[in-house]
């Protein structure tokens, strides 16, 4: 198993290098001089030339790339053009918020999704099933910003239950977490229901029942453990998705997170910031996938021993 993991990790590293290169190149084939953009209204040619040189943008692409990798290893991701602060510091602040948001969202998505999925599977084709599946389908098919806006409008603005925005207290995370997690919750609910129903068709469920296990015992001890394998993998991948995909939610709820930094970086044509945030997001996804793989092989004895 260790060997498999090592191979996977190596693959992930290759992918990571590819990602860095891709981001780096993609951001530099953009037409126009970033410095000029950054200076805005009062740009003057001399200053632009000087800044371009200071930032090393006049060097060949490959030189820039290796220089970037080099300093990135030292934890130096440059200075943000648009916010004037070290990128590492900006991301450090924002990442805490995003992490909290993702954790809240994941907890919501998983608890809600799994519960919904189980209840739906047990009450297959009854009203409860229809309602829960309706709610989860809504989560999948509503654009995130719509659910975010509606939640904000109803629970914060109309009912005054929760803050409209900001991260001053933990309550500020609840609505964004639900908005962000709803989509994942929907997916989790759907897949939990499907796999659980599939699992309940399995022969070993009959065996367990023939043994004298009651419905709850069958569900918890036999069906769920097997059904949860794909769900768990999906959840791990989802978590990294939540961590890196909270752009919209953070914007609507004005949470100072990595996603918003990304938006800031794009509207400000802020290459160092965009580069670093993109790198962070993809690293998280790659690590998430790696974790999902490892988790699967730890949890599923069939893979554990073969690998």
């Amino acid at each position: 198993m260790l060997r498999t993991l090592a191979r996977r990790a190596l693959q992930a590293l290759v992918v990571l290098i590819g990602v860095v290169l891709l981001i780096f190149v993609m951001l530099r084939i953009v037409p126009g001089n970033p410095i000029e953009t950054m200076m805005g209204e009062h740009a003057n040619a001399e200053t632009i030339a000087r800044m371009t040189k200071e930032m090393g943008l006049d060097q060949p692409l490959l030189t820039q790339f290796f220089r970037y990798i080099g300093s990135a290893f030292r934890g130096d991701f440059g200075t943000s053009y648009s916010l004037g602060k070290p990128v590492a510091q900006l991301i450090g602040n924002a990442f805490v918020n995003t992490l909290l948001l993702a954790v809240f969202a994941a907890v919501f998505a998983w608890i809600f999704g799994i519960t919904c999925g189980i209840i739906s599977a047990v009450k297959k084709n009854r009203l409860t099933d229809r309602i829960f599946m309706g709610v989860s389908l809504l989560g999948i098919s509503l654009p995130v910003f719509m659910s975010a806006m509606f939640l904000q409008y109803i629970f914060a603005f109309k009912l005054h239950w929760l803050p409209i925005s900001g991260t001053d207290s933990w309550t500020g995370f609840i609505l964004p977490a639900i908005a962000l997690g709803w989509n994942s919750a929907g997916q989790v609910a759907q897949i939990t229901r499907t796999t659980l129903l599939e699992t309940l068709q399995e022969d070993y469920i009959d065996t367990a029942r023939a043994k004298g296990r009651g419905p709850t015992g069958v569900l918890l001890r036999h069906a769920l453990r097997n059904a949860m394998l794909p769900v768990l993998t999906m959840m791990t991948i989802q978590f990294s998705g939540l961590l890196s995909g909270a752009v919209i939610t953070e914007t609507v709820f004005s949470i100072n997170g990595v996603g918003r930094l990304m938006v800031q970086a794009i509207s400000g044509r802020d290459i160092p910031l965009l580069q670093a945030t993109a790198l962070l997001a993809t690293t998280v996804v790659i690590l998430g996938n790696l974790l999902a793989d490892s988790l699967y092989s730890v949890l599923d004895p069939r893979i554990r021993k073969e690998g």
């Binding site: 297959k124 399995e202 022969d203 070993y204 009959d206 065996t207 367990a208 029942r209 023939a210 043994k211 004298g212 296990r213 009651g214 001890r221 036999h222 453990r225 097997n226 394998l229 949890l299 599923d300 004895p301 069939r302 021993k305």
Partner: protein, 325 residues
């Protein structure tokens, strides 16, 4: 009167589907005398497994027993609550399934799965349960029981898995074991071993109901055979009798197809047609659609199950006549 472990009377299972109600098991009556092996044989889809499940109380939604009764050791268990039923399952009546490959939970160690059965029905401690499990493993001839105890299902061969399943079924010493296609998925050599094991169990006092489409298996171990077709028993007799003088054209057809296989002939002799759709059963004999010898009466009227000779019953107008002639 000899003691009967299982008596099934006029058992009917209904399925409510979008296109109407179907009856995969339709008025089935059968007996399993104590200390004997009884077989049910038929093509897939004829209702054998459904009968077994109905006996176990393991029908899947939307299946439901609508008529008839099931007596286990003389006690009517048809109307027991689910909770009471559960107490019987695994303790008094056990079942093993067709696919040893998939009938064990892949993520739980086999020892634990066997142990679970005994801990559900007795108050024994963990240690006792384990000791009993290991003992059971040895009884069903699983070598290196200690090691196997810790294995996951995928680490065992098909034959071993079936043994584990048998151990699980037998650990509470039930009076009846229902074996649904116990050897279908196994090699021929393993098949023989498992069948031998079933015979040993019978000799140990457990009655066995074997469900199989394989006449070979039935011939080898069964004392008495029921032939099922489209939800009904079409023929029943002692094994020897039925193999010597199959009365129902369906049974005859089954025998012929096996025979042609045995001879290794290039042409496969089969019963023409397929098992009829239960939604569109003919008004008369269910087999009339495929029967080479059917006449107008067969298509209109349902034949009764009646004796063709003492201890041998068949559901056919023709055989009745034949016997009379």
């Amino acid at each position: 009167m000899e003691q009967k472990t299982l008596e099934v009377r006029n058992l009917t299972v209904c399925f409510r589907t979008e296109k109407g109600i179907i009856r995969p098991v339709n008025g089935v009556s059968l007996d399993v005398p104590a200390g004997s092996i009884v077989g049910i044989v038929g093509e897939s889809g004829c209702g054998k497994s459904m009968t077994a499940r109905a006996v176990m109380g393991l029908l899947r939604y939307p299946g439901k027993v609508t008529e008839g009764s099931v007596l286990l050791n003389g006690r009517d268990i048809t109307n027991l609550t689910e909770k009471e039923r559960r107490k019987l399952r695994g303790a008094e009546v056990s079942m093993i399934f067709q696919e040893p490959m998939t009938s064990l939970n892949p993520v739980v160690r086999v020892g634990k799965q066997v142990e679970e059965a005994i801990r559900l029905h007795t108050d024994c401690t963990k240690e006792e349960a384990k000791a009993r499990t290991l003992e059971m493993f040895r009884e069903v001839e699983i070598p290196e029981a200690e090691t196997r105890y810790k294995c996951y299902p995928h680490q065992l061969s098909g034959g071993l898995r079936q043994r584990v399943l048998i151990a699980m079924a037998m650990i509470c010493k039930p009076s009846l074991l229902i074996a649904d296609e116990p050897t279908t998925a196994l090699d021929v050599t393993v098949e023989a071993q498992i069948l031998k094991l079933l015979e040993q169990l019978r000799d140990g006092g457990t009655s066995v109901l074997i469900i199989s489409h394989d006449l070979g298996v039935i011939a080898k171990v069964c004392d008495y055979v029921y032939v099922m077709y489209a939800g009904r028993i079409v023929e029943e007799a002692e094994t020897e009798v039925i193999f010597r003088r199959p009365a129902h054209p369906y049974t005859q057809g089954l025998f012929r197809s096996v025979a042609s296989l045995r001879e290794g002939g290039s042409t496969l002799e089969t019963i023409p047609g397929v098992v009829p759709n239960l939604h569109r059963l003919p008004a008369g004999c269910s087999f009339s659609l495929r029967c080479g010898e059917c006449d107008a009466r067969c298509e209109q009227e349902l034949p009764e199950l009646k004796e063709t000779e003492p201890g041998h019953k068949a559901r056919c107008f023709r055989t009745g006549k034949e016997a009379a002639e």
